[in-house]
């Protein structure tokens, strides 16, 4: 598609705030988003692991599913156990196609009234809404909450910061949600995130987002963090980026996301591609997503071919770069199952030269979720 015909980029409610903070804005999934602020990706990354980073993730899709048992309805499209999800609890799950390929990854929160708040990726939200409306039938409505913003406050200081604004939320357990009034704004707060650190995601009316973001940034521990560090943080955390590490051609089992398939779902199936996925669970997949550590200093980027000792290609890097907290390059990719064991030597073809590497455990940086 020619740039002349590209639709204009959308802006989040925090666009002006990003500009005033000196952000470098880039196009991302149809939005003008901050890739970094003046501190830079390295400093923003390290600050998030040391204190707290504030991320604007308002480009992501927030959907509300309501009607007759939305959890049971959504279970027909995902392998996660949503019927077993208690009120104000959330779960990571995967929207699947009929071959067991992943259409999107999402967070589903069961609200107090039995409805579901579903957060999906920005690039896939239009397709997800169409798909869900098509597949869920008339008993469940799918509403886009386009008038809501989403902030993420991530890092070891996040809970202490939020405690100053609302006492209750700091006690939430990982993957739990609460309604809270933050700085006078009614918010839905979940203890979740995409960095591997403790932290929160805060859904609130778009009009209130700049004020709350400014309030949070006034706390001494909090610095703004852009998409660049969001990517390096999630990569070190071993977390998948949709469209890169997972897509319609990868199954949950191949993606090493079998942990998202609940026991009841394994026994009874009833999700798209169940035959393929249950067979892979029983027999093992032909390929698997693994962590990869280059043995030298050169980062291996997405698309880097992975070869074995005889030079035969056995996989491909799907995310890769420099891990600021690791202090070395890190990557994830798919390899043939025979090469997936931790420690297996591999070679990465970077700029035409084979570079030594090995399969490494994920995450590269230990998760520090709040599990009281």
């Amino acid at each position: 598609m020619s740039a002349d015909h590209a639709p204009p980029l959308q802006r989040t409610p925090l666009y002006s705030l990003h500009q005033s903070l000196g952000a470098r804005m880039v196009p991302f999934a149809g939005y003008e988003m901050p890739v970094q602020y003046t501190a830079g990706i390295l400093a923003e990354h390290l600050h998030t692991r040391a204190a707290a980073g504030l991320f604007d993730v308002s480009h992501m899709g927030q959907l509300r599913l309501a009607g007759i048992d939305p959890a049971a309805a959504l279970e027909t499209q995902v392998p996660g156990d949503l019927r077993g999800l208690g009120p104000m609890r959330l779960r990571y799950t995967l929207l699947l196609n009929d071959d067991g390929g992943i259409l999107d990854d999402l967070m589903a929160t069961r609200l107090g009234d039995g409805g579901l708040l579903v957060v999906v990726n920005a690039a896939t939200k239009d397709a997800d809404v169409a798909h869900l409306r098509d597949r869920l039938g008339g008993g469940v409505s799918v509403d886009r909450l386009d008038d809501r913003a989403l902030l993420a406050l991530q890092g070891p200081a996040a809970a202490g910061v939020l405690r100053r604004l609302a006492d209750g939320v700091a006690g939430l357990a990982f993957m739990s949600a609460a309604e809270a009034t933050l700085d006078g704004h009614q918010c839905l707060v979940t203890r979740s995130g995409y960095t591997g650190e403790d932290g929160f995601e805060i859904s609130l009316p778009a009009a209130a987002a700049p004020a709350l973001a400014t309030r949070l940034l006034a706390e001494p521990e909090v610095a703004p963090v852009g998409l660049g560090a969001r990517d390096s943080l999630r990569l070190e955390g071993g977390l998948c980026l949709y469209g890169h590490d997972i897509d319609a051609t990868t199954t949950p089992v191949e993606a090493d996301l079998a942990w998202t398939i609940g026991k009841r779902r394994r026994e009874h199936g009833g999700f798209p591609g169940a035959a393929v996925i249950l067979r892979q669970l029983a027999q093992g997949p032909a390929r698997l997503r693994v962590g990869i550590r280059p043995d030298e200093r050169a980062p291996a980027r997405e698309g880097t071919p992975i070869v074995n000792s005889t030079g035969e290609q056995i996989g491909r890097v799907t995310s890769g770069g420099y891990g600021p907290s690791v202090g070395a390059p890190v990557a994830m990719g798919y390899v043939a199952a025979a090469y997936a064991a931790e420690g297996t030597p591999l070679s990465l073809i970077v700029r035409g030269a084979a570079r030594p590497a090995h399969v490494a455990p994920l995450p590269f940086v230990p998760h520090r979720y709040h599990r009281p």
């Binding site: 990354h45 200093r297 980062p299 600021p324």
Partner: protein
């Protein structure tokens, strides 16, 4: 050493006798962001003007560095292996990349002086 001269690809050169020191401009390092890895050619290799001579990687991406002149690589800045952030801290000094023995001095003629380069950078979108 002579005053630096610049390419439109944001490399700089300084001439000292027949040796040309090559680096990337301060503007280039600021656009790249934090440099985490620099890949330099082996000394003794010949580089060709306008062709890839080195690679500089930030957290986000890898960028090619093109040889501003043709000639044999006689020295590389091996300090960048342990401390690639020197490129950010001092792009025009300690963050130099390589030294090339200049084969054809006329190759320097088309390069911009600092004032012209800064005007060129101003015009970048």
């Amino acid at each position: 050493m002579t005053a630096p001269r610049f390419t439109k690809d944001h490399e700089w050169v300084r001439l000292d006798g027949d040796l040309v020191t090559v680096g990337i401009s301060d503007y280039a390092q600021s656009q790249l962001g934090d440099v985490v890895y620099v890949e330099l050619p082996e000394p003794g290799r010949r580089v060709e003007r306008g062709k890839e001579a080195a690679v500089v990687e930030s957290v986000k991406a890898a960028s090619e560095v093109y040889a501003p002149v043709s000639g044999e690589v006689v020295e590389i800045n091996s300090a960048l292996a342990a401390d690639p952030a020197k490129v950010n801290a001092d792009a025009m000094g300690e963050g130099w990349f390589l030294k090339v023995r200049l084969a054809d001095p006329s190759e320097l003629d088309g390069l911009m002086d600092e004032a012209a380069y800064l005007r060129f950078v101003e015009e970048q979108p």
